[in-house]
């Protein structure tokens, strides 16, 4: 099928390999970032609930999960800024 997209000068009109990578990384990173923050927020809510029940060790554990999630999302932001600064 790909020859359909070949033009007269024989170079491919669309770099499907690069496009596939764009789609794959976008799917993985996009879903992962939102999910990690979702897990972090849920952990924060559960930490609050556990504290209310007097279960401090479980609350601490959930707060650690929240902290890790926030750090991971912050790391994604730093990577994003790096790519903005070093594009092209």
């Amino acid at each position: 099928m790909s020859h359909f997209f070949l033009a007269a000068d024989s170079s491919p009109l669309v770099d499907w390999s690069a496009l596939g990578q764009v789609a794959l990384i976008s799917v993985i990173a996009g879903v992962l970032i939102a999910s990690i923050l979702g897990v972090g927020i849920v952990a924060s809510l559960r930490a609050s609930d556990e504290r209310g029940r007097g279960n401090d060790s479980a609350a601490l554990g959930m707060n650690v999960v929240t902290g890790v999630a926030v750090l991971l999302v912050a790391a994604a932001v730093v990577v994003g800024i790096y790519y903005i600064a070093h594009k092209g």
Partner: protein
């Protein structure tokens, strides 16, 4: 003389680009109440300004691969810019989030066609650099945003809506700021490229593969796009933040983080997608992904019609502008002066009409964002 008009009109285009695209970064953040409207556009303006300085990769590729570079003259650029400005103003008036980059490309194509004919246009480049990415960008963003939103809502399902949403409001500030920063680097550079191109064709700047964009050009473009962004295109913000779908904070975060990811990844792989297309697709996708949410497909259809019309409409306007300026002679400044006056008069009447039927910042906030918490799956 003509090059002076090109610089002025390019900065006007940059300003319209700013207020037209404020919605890309801040529409969902404003709609969900994560930031007050004026604060949001202030942050977006500052980040657009900063973004213009972060990466000084020369963006003289605006017309490269689209039209034959040898036929580009200051008059062709001038007419192209006017076509793009006209389309940006029309779509802003109707609250349609269309691509400023596509308007600029359409404008340059139209003026090049009017100047030289079809041999000036590189149709293969248009297909591979503009049309195919334009088809892929919103679909990809919509699918990923729908998946991300669905997963997030599964995670927070057991918790009350207001309680679970609070954290996402904070996160939205980070995700929308990323989009604003990326927008500043991409779009301010396009205008820098246009002005540099005009200076080179006029002999004011030495060309070549690795020329330096003058500092005053960088500063003026950064200032113009930041001021435009701060002005806030409230009509488009309202469409994207409240009309496509009712946006809640988890959706806002999912759509903006997915949009930032798609924009940065595609840019890294050499597919600079339209920020507008990606964000519009992501917001629509987040409406599909959220349980019980509804997407107003008539608004989505109107946006797509706007996208389809962008290049032909900007091209037609630019061709007409080129034809009128050409009446006064190829290198005469009379045509550009006359057309700049027409633009200024049209802008004045549009400003007055906007004052009479203005969309206010508070109209861009979803009405119940500060209501009492409800279960997520209510």
């Amino acid at each position: 003389m003509i090059v002076t008009f090109v610089v002025v009109v390019a900065l006007v285009f940059d300003f319209t680009n700013g207020f037209h695209d404020t919605a890309n970064a801040m529409a969902t953040t404003i709609a969900t109440g994560a930031l007050k409207p004026r604060v949001a556009v202030g942050i977006a303006g500052a980040l657009n300004f900063a973004g213009a300085f972060i990466s000084i990769t020369v963006a003289a590729t605006v017309a490269k691969g689209i039209v034959d570079a040898n036929i580009v003259t200051p008059t062709v650029i001038f007419a192209g810019l006017l076509g793009a400005i006209a389309w940006n103003l029309i779509t802003w008036w109707f609250g349609v989030p269309s691509s400023s980059s596509h308007a600029l490309i359409g404008g340059i194509i139209g003026s090049a066609l009017a100047a030289v004919g079809t041999k000036a246009v590189e149709f293969r480049g248009i297909l591979s650099s503009v049309l195919i990415p334009a088809l892929i960008a919103p679909v990809l963003a919509a699918l990923v945003a729908a998946a991300a939103t669905f997963i997030v809502y599964r995670l927070i399902k057991p918790y009350a809506q207001g309680r679970a949403e609070r954290g996402f409001r904070w996160a939205q500030i980070a995700s929308s700021s990323m989009v604003a920063l990326a927008h500043g680097t991409n779009d301010a550079q396009k205008t820098m490229g246009v002005i540099s191109l005009a200076l080179i064709t006029n002999g004011n700047l030495k060309g070549g593969d690795s020329f330096d964009v003058p500092t005053w050009v960088v500063f003026c473009c950064a200032t113009a796009i930041a001021l435009g962004t701060y002005t806030g295109g409230w009509r488009i913000i309202k469409t994207l933040g409240t009309k496509v779908t009712e946006v809640r904070p988890p959706q806002g975060f999912s759509s903006e983080s997915v949009a930032a990811t798609v924009i940065l990844v595609s840019s890294h792989f050499g597919y600079p997608l339209s920020t507008t297309h990606v964000v519009s697709g992501a917001v629509t996708g987040s409406g599909v992904g959220r349980p019980a949410a509804q997407v107003d497909w008539s608004v989505a259809r109107r946006i797509v019609y706007g996208w389809l019309l962008t290049i032909p409409a900007a091209a037609a306007t630019a061709a007409i502008v080129y034809g009128i300026t050409d009446i006064f002679g190829k290198n005469s400044a009379v045509g550009p002066i006359a057309m700049t006056l027409v633009l200024a008069i049209a802008g004045f009447f549009l400003y007055r009409a906007n004052k009479a039927s203005s969309v206010k910042p508070e109209d861009t906030v979803t009405s119940d964002v500060f209501d009492e918490p409800q279960p997520v799956n209510a």
